[in-house]
Symmetry: C2
Subunit: 415 residues, 2 copies
């Protein structure tokens, strides 16, 4: 069975946004064992969207369209798809209720405008997929020729939960043999090194297969087996997962699809009955923000500090004026004192501190842009690490956050 992706939106053609939805959907489709040979992007233009959809339907079994389901008249995906499938648009009472309920829930100043009701129109015979994070429902439309169009909303925070909850199970039911996969997530190892470490497995792969995905500061390996049932698939995957453990050891932080690095760390802290705090300079809150994106992080995190100025480092964390003068704010010594001081101030068992030069300004020949020190305090012991990142301000801060989390994890698993 072949699946093809069409991303709809002039903002993609103009390069206003990076098409992360296509990468997301492509990865999920591959994980479901479906073949995808084409991706395309078209703007909010009726004629070109129609041509793209007809072409895609002529060569693939299932076409997934993302975007263009909004309330504005630019949004044409539903209208064009209905036309191509020869269906009328009719008002869906269930969706209308959901839109009303959505607006009732947000009693802000935003009123429903007449164009919001456009989102309640659905092609006759389409399966409506509820959107739990917005007003545009997803739609599945099957043609008489057996070809299927799946329409999904464009915003990543709407398309992802909808795909996982409803579309992935739908696609899986269409397959003769089930596809099962496990995700083995690795931190503390660089991308090319990780791939080199499994080159022989990848050369020899048949069933299960192994595919690496590079993430910021992490590498995820997807092990995928084709089998008649889950039990058989698990038996096929188990030796490969075991082999990955033999090679990466405790650098594997999870084998669960949805578990993030910060979730694994919050879980570790909970297991050990420990609390953590953060003291941030160049990351300025992102590290704390990342930890706190874990639901229930309040069990392990009570307070944290953003200390940009030297004065704040002294006042809130007790970094000594002499350390700042002798070694500078961006130094292993300062990172160590920040971590120790934060743990003391927050009465926490562990603390992560980050100080560095995110750029673009502030670098020198001794301390270049991208230089970051992480201080990690765990139960009386302080470890510091130096990193030099080579991205822009945003990338450097993102990498600093992941590396800091990785250092904390390494310390926690040693306990």
């Amino acid at each position: 069975m072949t699946v093809e992706l069409i991303s709809v939106g002039t903002e993609i053609l103009l390069g206003n946004i990076v098409n992360t939805n296509a990468a997301y959907l492509a990865e999920k489709i591959a994980a479901l064992g479906l073949s995808c040979y084409h991706q395309s992007a078209v703007g909010d233009n009726e004629e070109r969207l129609e041509d793209a959809l007809r072409l895609a339907l002529s060569r693939s079994d299932i076409v997934i369209l993302s975007g263009g389901l909004g309330p504005t008249k630019d949004d044409l995906t539903k209208e064009v798809t209905a036309k191509v499938f020869g269906k009328k648009l009719v008002e869906d009472a269930h969706t209308k209720e959901r839109i009303q309920a959505y607006f009732d829930r947000i009693h802000t100043k935003n009123k429903i405008t007449s164009n919001n009701w456009k989102q309640a129109l659905t092609p006759e015979g389409a399966v409506v997929v509820d959107n739990h994070n917005g007003t545009a429902p997803g739609l599945i439309l099957k043609g008489e020729n057996g070809k299927t169009a799946i329409l999904l909303p464009g915003p990543p925070n709407e398309i992802k939960p909808m795909f996982e909850r409803d579309i992935a199970p739908y696609l899986n039911r269409l397959q003769p043999e089930g596809i099962y996969s496990k995700m083995v997530k690795v931190c503390s190892v660089g991308e090319s090194r990780a791939e080199t470490m499994v080159a022989d497995i990848m050369d020899a792969q048949t069933n299960p297969t192994l595919a690496p995905y590079a993430k910021t500061g992490e590498v995820h390996f997807r092990v995928t087996a084709k089998a008649k049932d889950e039990e058989t698939a698990n038996a096929l995957m188990e030796p490969m997962v075991r082999e990955l453990y033999a090679r990466f050891g405790d650098k594997i932080y999870t084998t669960k699809e949805h578990v993030t690095l910060e979730e694994a760390i919050v879980e570790l802290l909970k297991e050990k009955g420990m609390t953590v705090t953060t003291a941030e300079s160049c990351t300025g809150g992102l590290l704390a923000g990342r930890i706190m994106n874990v639901a229930g992080a309040s069990a392990v995190y009570q307070e944290g500090y953003i200390t940009y100025s030297n004065r704040a480092k002294e006042k809130l964390l007790g970094v000594s004026e002499e350390t700042l003068r002798t070694y500078g704010a961006v130094s292993a010594e300062t990172a160590a004192q920040m971590a120790e001081g934060a743990a003391k101030a927050a009465e926490a068992d562990a603390a992560l501190a980050v100080t560095g030069i995110a750029g673009p300004g502030g670098g020198s020949s001794e301390k270049p842009v991208g230089l970051v020190y992480v201080g990690c305090f765990v139960k009386g012991r302080v470890r510091t690490e130096e990193f030099i990142f080579t991205g822009n301000r945003e990338k450097n801060r993102d990498y600093a956050v992941v590396r800091a989390l990785t250092v904390l994890r390494e310390e926690l698993i040693c306990l």
Copy 2:
């Protein structure tokens, strides 16, 4: 003149990488005033690549192919393009020399393997574009029908400098009329409402045109004019921009393409010689992180607080135990005291506080998930706002950050 993009690489179809090249090229092409109506991605497959190229050449004047120029036999872009244009591949002596020189410089220990010489083969009559960051040269191939194929290497660190140095000037020379655009960025107004407010302009648009882009908590309008030079374009755009100002007033925070909401706010603070701090509960550092993503934010932000627990709110911000007991941690009263206390503790002129229930747990019938209070202290005055967001944890936190920034901006422009 129309340009079309084809990204070549199985890793894109499998979702192993996000196609950032397409976004990069699309933005550059739009900025050059060229129209791009199609983007597509195909794998390293001869037949499908040939079909994609023939289709693209049938509907666009210039086709830019990226990727598939490597030394391995998977890499087929050059071979397929030569076939489609009816050209033979011949060895290019200049490129052969450059490859040798590159290896002498970089891979002192690595020997050139025979397949490296594959990269010195070029279609007869092609213009060779030197690659200063790798071994695969770019190629420009013009057919007898006036259609052009431009082949560029896939790695971002090769394609970007090559495009900027050689391809952009080449494309610019081809154009009779330029396209110029301005971005009008609006906050404090919902997407549908903003769209309704300009529906008549959009109905009547010819040159310039108006296109809305919904962002989290913001709406961006792109005004685009076609003209022989920038001055003429500006004269065409000016009345529309003025009309947008008449309708949205000070809800427009910038008309500059690259300026973000947080940058506009940091700029406002600098103009007024003011500093700001943050006290965050549910957003846990994201608000500070967002402000600090602005290069040079240290001029207006010195320290901030993450106060998840009641104890931290009392200790760091001086929120009264009575307020917490009477109104709860998620209340307008607590938000107000957090803001006032943060400003005092950080000795800042302004402070933003956020307290709320991001979810998924922690909600009740009186205080549902998504309920967020923002406290904003500016020079002795405190304002609070209540919001109810309806997304998941991540979306609620993102919206809380933008709404908080919006409230601060509203207060600052009133000064």
